[in-house]
Amino acid sequence: MLDPDSGLSLTIARIVQRLKGSSLHSQLERQARVSLHKPEIKLESLKEDIKDFLKTSGWEKKLQNAVYSELNVFPSPCHPAAPPEHMKEPLAYMRKAQGSWEKRILKSLNSMCTELSIPLAQKRPVNEQKELLNKWNEMGTDEPDLSLFRPVYAPKDFLEVLMNLRNPNYENGEQPSFRSHLGLIQVPLKVKDIPELKEDFSELGLNIGQLGIDDSAQVPPEFFENEHVRVGQKVLAEQDSAAAQQYVRQGCPTALRADLWALILNISNQPEDILYYEQLKSNVIQHDLLVDSLIYKDVKLTASNDDYYFVFEDYLYQVLLCFSRDTSVLEHFTYSSATPPKSYIRGKLGMEEYAVFYPPNGVIPFHGFSMYVAPLCFLYHEPSKLYQIFREMYVRFFFRLHSISSHPSGIVSLCLLFETLLQTHLPQLFYHLREIGAQPLRISFKWMVRAFSGYLATDQLLLLWDRILGYNSLEILAVLAAAVFAFRAVNLMEVTSLAAAEAVLADLSTLKVMPLLQIFLFATVT
């Protein structure tokens, strides 16, 4: 066990190292230097005076937000002797499974490449570059022939892999009984039960005001909404990330949401950020990647057909094409169980000097990937800000939904949490569905992998994502999935096939997520 003091100093050391050399660091230095001209800064008490100045001018708050951001994103260090893989994934069998999964994906990508004789990447001829630049804002009107491309994988392929995960150190010798886990996931990870969830999600309790419940037309706004909006405005005025994160647990007022999320994610859209985005854009213009076609195909198959998101088709290309070229995303692989695929310059297979990550950001999109971006288009209409928000959401949350790990917010744990909640609290339903060949996870898996994007109405989805940000965890997705089954339990008990069960759960667009979550967590007899 790591003794708390050395744990703390390790953390501090890591954060200092990460912030050193960041633009915030240079801005702070510049501010400190500028402050020397101010009359209140005296030589005798230089250090204290500068610290006071930074506090009153709001720079200390910015530093606090940056530190808070680091704490949220990076896991606490484990034992100093632990190898770096442990920060990615402590369990060996999970690492192995993720590795084989990655090999399969890469094989699929390479074979598509060979079949279609398209290189993974190539430089665009100059006239094509010009054309793309002109069309940058309306790539949706392009109709390239995508019939030969197919998504590298779909969520159900991934589910098959997860179903076959086994811990080789775990011997479950006993005969299956009513006490054993009846679901598809058969690995022994610790997941929370309802009493623990109630504690963790205490702000969702019945006696606490919520947006999504207490702002409906029948409730006078004086009861909760007006005050909540006022507090939200105050949080924004203070520019405090930690306060914002606490605040959004009760939901964001629509007019404040964009700013609150940006504050929590510590996105400020500085000139250098805009410049960085423009640079990514020029990378897109100059080089054509095979994954670009995968992205086009995905958008055309999913978002373009969605009632809410079709309007933003062009923005999705602008974000996702740049995202594939963004090497800063590679940083997240230090704490993700995944490893970016490597590719070799033609003819130099196996020679490390000629290895590059492919795609440059190491993330191969799958069917439905663009739906992670789509809801954000309702909040941010400025491409570079939209881009940064998405990137941060990805490296904090979404990457966990398509990689194999033991993390409590990883998809494996979410699946297990879902199945356990259902089996524990709706055993009759669970058993019935299993008997008719409709394992519940087969239906709910796609909801969770997409964080419910494209399944819920947008305003409800945003209320859900408020809580993901507020609690810095994806567990709420599993809880919601179970709550949906609980809500439709009566109808589900009457179905006799998987197809019929799918039909009962096909349309979630009328659901109100907050009442469902509240009832499931706080108003169900356990």
Partner: protein, 434 residues
């Protein structure tokens, strides 16, 4: 068969007999679900869903048709005062001048001579009658674009854009002052200043289609359907002059968009008004969004008030209008036109459901309890039957209620994303909206 037949006949006599010229399933299904009975036009009928041609015949001086107390039709005899583009503009202009003459604060103008509260129709002229006036206006702004629309056509037919006087030379030849209901009304056009700075979402241009039900003009009682929608252009909007001929870019009318290459049959290029509200609140803020929707309600009511004095307020009539509104990038709404016969064709499954519910709620208000109508009723349906309609303006209530109205509690269900909470039941107008 005696007694049974007698009873059978008595039961039938209590059922509404309907006729329609418009063979659309969303209508017919609604009639049938009420157990109404279809009859022919020359038989005794209670409810006739007419096309605009039929209403012209029914109420024309020659036929001398007299409707009885138990007969209801879905158009006002001279609806064209509102629904013909040239007459709508004429009536609004007249209304504004009248308010100005009586010194009403509504007719206040700003320092440039533009009406502050009543400038909601783009500058419009009739051709050929106002050709010279138009030329004068055009020369003030020679780089402007104008849209030519034939007065009598719908669905975007015959519309084209111009940005040079030479393009409409042929309307300059006749300079006779024509009356507005001229025999050559087929050739009469209106020319309006084209809104070349529309609000774009996702880079795309759109317009709003809102449904408004009027049950009586004097006193004015009108309802707005909460589930209006935005129609997006399938092709990217660009104000560049080379694209003037590409109607897919400029016209949002679904009848035209349907033939573009990118038309999608799942969502039909349509968004609900609640999506629009969510987007605007999230990206622009709540106050400006509420202000926009308030203004939209305002301009609809003003347009109805403008035609109310000249409308034949026949008690056998009600009408469901399709309002087309464009929002510019300063979040100002503009009234483009009003349709007497909004399309009942469905382009997607969602569309079919929406139109079915629209007719259902309309019938619930116009034909109370689904029973044989008595056109002498007070046309004040109880709140419960409104369905997805909410009271937009009720002149009677506005005049009686005075100071109490602000204390009235909020009504109406929330619609998906919060509906129009701040502005709902019959909140009359003038002082609150100023």
């Amino acid at each position: 068969m005696g007694a049974a037949g007698g009873d059978g006949w008595a039961i039938m006599a209590g059922k509404v007999k309907w006729v329609t010229d418009i063979e659309k399933s969303v209508l017919i299904n609604n009639f049938e679900k009420r157990g109404w009975i279809q009859v022919a036009e020359n038989e005794d009928w209670n409810f006739y869903w007419m096309s605009v041609q039929t209403i012209r015949n029914v109420f024309s001086v020659e036929t001398g048709y007299r409707l009885s107390d138990d007969q209801i039709v879905n158009h006002f005899p001279n609806h064209y005062e509102l629904t013909r583009k040239d007459l709508m503009v004429k009536n609004i202009k007249r209304y504004r001048k009248e308010l100005e003459k009586e010194g009403s604060p509504l007719a206040e103008k700003d320092e440039n001579g533009k009406y502050i509260y009543l400038d909601f129709v783009p500058v419009t002229f009739m051709l050929p009658a106002d050709y010279n006036l138009f030329v004068e206006e055009f020369r003030k702004n020679p780089s402007s674009t104008w849209i030519m629309k034939p007065c009598g056509k719908a669905q975007g037919k015959g519309i084209f854009l111009i940005n040079k006087l030479s393009q409409i030379k042929k309307w300059s030849r006749d300079s006779k002052t024509s009356s507005f209901v001229s025999q050559s009304s087929k050739e009469a056009y209106v020319i309006s200043l084209y809104i070349n700075n529309p609000l774009l979402i996702g880079g795309k241009k759109f317009d709003l289609r809102l449904y408004v039900l009027v049950s009586t003009y004097r006193p004015l009682r009108c309802y707005m359907y909460k589930l209006g929608f935005c129609r997006f252009c399938t092709v990217k909007y660009t104000p560049s002059t080379s694209e003037l001929d590409n109607m897919f870019v400029h016209l949002t009318n679904v009848a035209i968009q349907k033939h573009g290459d990118d038309y999608n049959h799942i969502h039909g290029g349509k968004w609900t008004v609640s999506n629009l509200r969510l987007y605007l609140e999230s990206t622009r803020g709540k106050e400006v969004t509420n202000k926009l929707f308030d203004e939209i309600h305002w301009i609809i009511v003003q347009s109805l008030k403008a035609v109310a004095p000249v409308m034949n307020n026949d008690k056998h009539c009600f009408e469901c209008y399709g309002y087309d509104i464009i929002i510019d990038d300063k979040l100002k709404p503009w009234l483009i036109e009003v349709n007497a016969s909004p399309s009942l064709t469905s382009s997607t499954a969602n569309d079919r459901i929406l139109k079915y519910n629209l007719i259902n709620d309309t019938l619930n208000i116009a034909v109370p309890n689904g029973e044989i109508p008595d056109c002498k009723w007070n046309k004040s349906p109880p709140k419960e039957v409104l369905g997805n309609y909410e009271v937009l303006y009720d002149e009677e209530m506005a005049q009686s209620d005075g100071p109490d109205r602000d204390l009235r509690s909020r009504s109406g269900q929330s619609t998906g994303v919060k509906g129009n909470r701040a502005r709902d039941s019959g909140k009359p107008v003038l002082t609150t909206w100023k």
